[in-house]
């Protein structure tokens, strides 16, 4: 190459560029590139819409209807229209801060969440791509817009885990259906009354609490940094315990030390890119309280445990010999029990 003249180089590179164009176009058309475009669409697309979500459970379903106003890249306001218990409640999200206004309890909760970095987001997408195959389905119309459908198939089990529908032009995800392992629908999300606009009133994303409301600050980001900072003996983080069984494709993606209601926990988050599992461990007598939930009594070895279903998620909690454990994830009950029994 060094012997080539400049015009030859320019000509050759032009040929190469000309060739690369269709290659990139192919990549953009691929299901995986499309999926990623869908994930990133809210960063560049502003809109208003009404979104319906339904979680199907063993004993009924839970439905919410939310009006969304989104200004790219990261300001979102959600106003609950249904069910009646939430009517009028709002959540304003600005970057990693979330402001929840609960009109029924006159409470204003400010949450500072983790700020996801690009690397972890990319790695988690890589995890998804490693564990799931995307297949194109039939094109449809949703909320008056043409959409492309994709099914995400678990590579290890061959099971369809999720179907999503992306708007053909903006790639915004307009609908999503999550399936249980037995093929039953676990949850469904669908956009209605979609309108693309970035002309939203200035006060849409106001973050001030209404007068007379109790303001609660809930700093997730700080809570996670609390390990080993001169706490009392009982606040020492517990020994990390690794499950010997995890569903195929699951990897540890995050280790944090949150404090829930003043109690320090070790929190391990595992995922295969779509499905996930949290293992909470602490050294107090604090398995999760299941009052208000329909709990099923089960055994982990010799010990009593409680199993709770919450829409797509199941929760399993028990007191071990030296620690208490709470497992949460969109996994089946047998999977959770198997993981629990493999904790050593």
């Amino acid at each position: 190459m060094n012997r080539r003249s400049l015009p030859a180089l320019v000509c050759a590179s032009a040929c190469a560029f000309a060739f690369l164009l269709p290659l990139n176009a192919n990549a953009a058309d691929s299901a995986l590139a499309l999926l990623q475009a869908g994930v990133r669409a809210p960063l560049t697309t502003s809109y208003t819409a009404q979104v319906e979500r339904i979680h199907f459970g063993a004993r009924g379903s839970r439905q919410t209807l939310v009006r969304i106003e989104h200004l790219a890249p990261n300001a979102t306001r959600r106003t609950y229209l249904a069910p009646e218990a939430f009517y009028g409640n709002t959540i304003v999200q600005r970057g990693n801060r979330r402001y929840e206004c609960d009109r029924h309890h006159h409470r204003f909760v400010i949450r500072v969440e983790h700020d996801p970095d690009d690397l972890s987001t990319a790695q988690n997408f890589a995890l998804l791509a490693r564990n799931y195959r995307a297949e194109y389905g039939q094109d449809e119309m949703i909320a008056g817009y043409p959409v492309i459908s994709l099914s995400l198939i678990n590579r290890h089990t061959g099971e369809k885990t999720m179907s999503i529908w992306l708007e053909r032009n903006t790639h915004l995800i307009l609908s999503k259906v999550v399936f249980h392992r037995d093929g039953a629908v676990a949850s469904e999300m669908r956009f209605e009354k979609l309108r693309y606009t970035n002309k939203l009133p200035a006060n849409t994303f106001s973050t001030s609490a209404p007068s007379g409301y109790i303001v609660v600050t809930n700093n997730v980001a700080n809570r996670s940094q609390s390990a080993g900072s001169g706490e009392t003996d009982t606040n020492k983080p517990p020994t990390p315990i690794d499950p010997h069984f995890l569903p195929e494709g699951f990897a540890l993606i995050q280790t944090t030390y949150p404090t829930l209601q003043g109690v320090p926990f070790l929190h391990l988050l595992y995922s295969d890119g779509i499905r996930s599992l949290s293992i909470f461990e602490n050294q107090h007598n604090t398995p999760a309280g299941v009052n208000g939930f329909h709990a099923q009594s089960v055994k982990i070895g010799e010990r009593d445990a409680q199993l709770v279903a919450d829409g797509a998620n199941n929760l399993l909690t028990w007191q071990g010999a030296h620690s208490s454990f709470t497992l949460v994830g969109d996994l089946s009950k047998p999977e959770l029990l198997k993981i629990a029994n493999s904790l050593r």
Partner: protein, 176 residues
């Protein structure tokens, strides 16, 4: 030799070649992984049927070829996507910035990309024969053994595949 030891040695010696062969047939990492894993599982289960002195690579390539053929039949009519590599974030939408890429790389990328695309135009059987004959330099007899067909079939598939590649690639090569 124990079964586990046999597997370990097979992975050590032939894992890379098998994975590369599978990758060239499928064109993506995830399917290549599945194919390689399935082939080694079959090898593991049938380890006693392997006769020392015969070519292991021909055996496992034949298994890969058959599994790939079966998989294509099973998926007939479905779309497949390109799957990213381990730890390569640039595969997710980020091509390298133009300003810092040496021009040689672009030309090579272009030629490689040409070959990649040209290979995609071949039928699965033609692609297999090109991979084995031209990239891995197997003899017609070895290819016939791997593909489970006659030498005449290998020859005719190779001739057709080469003619197609010649038409697709040579004009571009001459330009660059």
């Amino acid at each position: 030799m124990e079964q586990a030891e046999f597997l370990e040695e097979a992975i050590e010696k032939y894992g890379k070649a098998t994975y590369n062969f599978a990758y060239r047939l499928t064109g993506n990492d995830a399917d290549a992984r599945d194919l390689t894993q399935d082939a080694f599982i079959r090898v593991y289960r049938a380890w006693r049927s392997f006769r020392p002195g015969t070519s292991f690579i021909s055996w496992i390539y034949r298994i890969v070829t058959n599994l790939h053929r079966d998989e294509l039949r099973r998926r007939k009519g479905r779309y497949l996507e390109e799957i990213p590599e381990d730890n390569s974030p640039q595969a997710f939408g980020g091509s390298r910035p133009l300003a810092v890429t040496p021009i040689d790389d672009y030309i090579n990328q272009g030629l490689d990309a040409n070959i990649t695309l040209a290979l995609e135009k071949l039928s699965p059987e033609q692609k297999r024969v090109i991979v084995l004959a031209d990239m891995e330099e197997y003899s017609y007899q070895e290819i016939a053994d791997i593909m489970g067909c006659s030498i005449g079939t290998v020859r005719s598939r190779l001739h057709r595949a080469r003619a197609l590649l010649r038409n697709l690639l040579l004009p571009i090569r001459e330009q660059s």
